[in-house]
Amino acid sequence: MRYPSNLLFLAGLAVALGAAPASAQEPLKIGAPVSTSGRYVAYGAQAKNGIETAVEVWKKVRGDKVAGRPIEVLFRDTQSNNAITVSLMNAFIQTDKVNIIIGPDGSNVAAAAVPPWKKLDDRPIWFMPGGSSDVIEKEVGPDPYFFHTYAWSYYYHENNVNALKALGTKKKVALLYSDGAYGRAHIEDARKYVKEAGFDLVADELVREGSADYGPTLAKIRVRRPDILYVLVQTNDAIQLTKQIHAARLNIPYLVGTAQTQLREWQEATGESQVCWTGVTTWVPGLNYPADKKEPKLFPSAADWEKMWFEKYKTSPDFLEVGYYATTILALLAVEATQSTDRERLKEWLEKQDYQTPLGDSRFKKSRVALHQAFGTMVVFQRQKQPDGSITSVLVYPEQVATGKLKPCTQ
C-alpha cells in the first residue's frame, strides 16, 4: 500500500510532537496564592519564602528547568481576603492556566479557595500546605486532585491530649476558645479528645475575637480551679490573652496552646509570659529526621536543612516555611518524574512516592475525608526557661523525639 509522502510527513511530525515532553518550551506554571498583606501576612511571608527557597534549591541541584520546562511561580496576594482569594483561584485556573496550585495559607482564605477550584472539571492538582480547618476537608471531600500537606485541626488535639495523658486522666480541663473561625473550627474536636481521654471538663468558655479584656472569662475559670487550661485562639488574640493569663495569677499547672506558641511573633510579643505554654506543630527546630537516600540534596536531614535556612535568612525556619519547601520540591519532582503536567499522571506518581523530607515522611494517606494527606505528624513542645535565662522549645511528645519532660508551671 502506498501513502502520499506529505501524509507520511504529517504523521511523523505528530508522532514526534507526541513523544516530546509536553509543551517543551512552555514554562511550568505554579499558581501561588499567598497572603502577603492583611491579617495572615505572617503566614504569607513564610509561604513565599518556602516556595522561593525550594525553586532556588531545585535550580542549584537540577538546573533551571523541570521536565525541560522553565519554572514560573505566579505569586498573587490574597490580601487575607476571602473574596480576593476566590478571584485569584479563578484567574489561576481560567486565565493563567496554571499547572499546579500551591497554597493559600490561613484557614479562612484556604476555605474560600475551595469552591472556585472545585467547580471546574479541568482543575489542576492542588497542594495545600497551610489551612488546617477540617471545614476545608469537608468542603473538598474525597477529591482525587487535592493534596493536603499540613495537619488537619483534629491532629492538634489528638496529639495535645496524648501528651497530656501522661499526666494521668484525673485532671480537670478548662477550654477557652474564640468566637472566630479558628476557635469554632477547633472546639468540637478539642472537646471530643478531652472527653475521650477521660479528663474532667470543668469550664468551656467562649471569648470574643479582638476583645480588649479577658479578665471576666479568666476570673470565671479561676474559680473552677482547673489543672489544664486549653486555649484555642489565633495569634493576635493569643498575645494579649497570654499576657493577661500571666497577670491573672490563675495558678493553673498546664497551659496548652495550639499553633500560636510556635510563632516567633507570639514568642517575641509575650516575653516571660510564654514560659510553660505548650504548643503542637509539625515542625520545630531540632527535629532529627534523616536525609532522604534518593534525593539527599533536595531533601537533606532536618538539621542540615535548618542550617541551610539559617545561613540564607539568618533566622530559624518557621513551620510553614518548611511545609511550603517540602511541598514545592515534591511538586517539582512529580513533574520531573512523569515528564508531564497531566493531573492523572501526577496524581498517580504522588500516590506512590515516598521520600524522607525535613518535615518527615512524604507518603500520602487517607485522612477523615480527604484522600491525600501528608506531613501530618505532629510533635508537642513546651516553652521552658533555661539556666542561661533563654526560653526555648523543649520537645515533650512523642517519646521517640522528646528532648525533655512536660513540666508544671510555677507562677
Binding site: 498583606s37 505572617a42 470574643r208 476583645s211 479577658y214 474559680v223 498575645i239 510579643a269
Partner: protein, 291 residues
C-alpha cells in the same frame, strides 16, 4: 466567691482605657466639627512608637509617653494644615472620606514599614498584678487607668483655665462669636486637632503593653470610640467619660453574668447604646447641634 467586686474593678479600669481612647475624638469633633476617622491610626502610631522605643532602646512606654505626645501633636497639627483645613467648609461626606482615606494611607504605610506581624511591648508591670482582698488588679491596667485620669484631668484643666483652652471652648460653642471676639479660629482648630491626635497617640502608648499591636488595630478601637462619643454626646468631655463608663460596665457585667457572656458582651453593650440613643438621640450629655 463573690465576683461583683472583681467585676466592678475590671469595669472601672476598662472605662479608663475607653475614656482615653475616645476623649481625643470627642475634642476634635467638639471644636473642629469633623469626626476624624483616622483617630484609630493615631492610636496605632502611638502603640508602634512606644513599642519600637521599648524594643530597640529599652525605653519604658511610660518614659516615652511625654515625647510621643509631643510627636502626636505635631503630626496632628501637620495633618490639619495639610489636609483637614482644606475641607473645613466642604460637605460632611468629603470630610469623612478624607479622614477615612488618611487612616487607610497611614495603615498601609505602617504595613510597609513594619509588616503586619503582631507585636506587644513587655515591660514588667504589663503582666504583674496584686490582690486587694479577693480582687485582682493588674498593674498594666492600673497604669493605663492612671494615665487616662491624668490626661483627662489635664485636658479639662487646660480647657477651663488656660487662655487657649478658653478660646477653644469659645470656638466650640460659637464659631462666629469667637471670631468677632478676635479669636484666631483656624489656629484654634489646628491646636485642637493636634491635641486630639496627641491624645490618640497617648492611648496607643498605653495599649502598647496591654493589647496586640498590628497596623489594623486602629479600626476596631475607632468604632468603639465613636460609639462612646455618640453615647456621651458629641463633643462633650464629661459625656465621653460617662459613655466610656456605660460601655465598660455593660461589657464587663455581661461577660461575668451571662452564659458565654464574653462573646455577647460587645453586642449587648451596643444594644444598650442603641436603646439610650432612641430615648435621648443627642446622647447622655450632648446638646443639640445646629446644622
Amino acid at each position: 466567691m463573690d465576683l461583683i467586686p472583681q467585676a466592678f474593678s475590671d469595669a472601672v479600669l476598662l472605662a479608663g482605657l475607653y475614656t482615653l481612647m475616645a476623649v481625643g475624638l470627642s475634642l476634635g469633633f467638639g471644636v473642629v466639627r469633623i469626626i476624624n476617622f483616622a483617630h484609630g491610626e493615631m492610636i496605632m502610631l502611638g502603640a508602634y512608637g512606644a513599642f519600637w522605643l521599648f524594643t530597640l532602646f529599652g525605653v519604658d512606654p511610660l518614659i516615652s509617653l511625654p515625647a510621643l505626645i509631643v510627636v502626636g501633636y505635631v503630626v496632628g497639627w501637620l495633618l490639619f494644615k495639610g489636609f483637614i483645613a482644606k475641607v473645613l467648609d466642604a460637605p460632611h461626606i468629603n470630610q469623612i472620606l478624607l479622614t477615612f482615606g488618611l487612616g487607610l494611607a497611614i495603615q498601609h504605610i505602617a504595613i510597609i514599614l513594619w509588616t503586619g506581624n503582631a507585636r506587644s511591648a513587655t515591660p514588667v508591670y504589663a503582666t504583674s498584678s496584686f490582690l486587694i482582698g479577693d480582687v485582682l488588679v493588674v498593674h498594666g491596667r492600673l497604669v493605663a487607668f492612671a494615665v487616662a485620669v491624668v490626661m483627662v484631668a489635664a485636658l479639662i484643666a487646660w480647657l477651663r483655665w488656660s487662655e487657649t483652652g478658653l478660646a477653644t471652648r469659645a470656638v466650640a460653642e460659637n464659631r462666629a462669636a469667637a471670631t468677632l471676639m478676635g479669636v484666631d479660629v483656624r489656629r484654634i482648630y489646628a491646636l485642637s486637632f493636634g491635641v486630639s491626635c496627641a491624645l490618640g497617640v497617648a492611648t496607643g502608648v498605653v495599649v502598647s503593653f496591654i493589647l496586640t499591636i498590628t497596623p489594623f488595630m486602629g479600626f476596631p478601637m475607632l468604632v468603639k470610640a465613636i460609639a462612646i462619643v455618640i453615647l456621651g454626646g458629641l463633643g462633650s468631655i464629661p459625656g465621653t467619660v460617662i459613655g466610656a463608663l456605660v460601655l465598660a460596665f455593660a461589657e464587663t457585667f455581661a461577660s461575668y453574668y451571662l452564659p458565654e457572656g464574653s462573646g455577647w458582651a460587645e453586642g449587648i453593650a451596643f444594644v444598650l447604646i442603641i436603646g439610650i440613643l432612641i430615648l435621648r438621640p443627642r446622647g447622655i450629655l450632648g446638646e443639640a447641634v445646629e446644622t
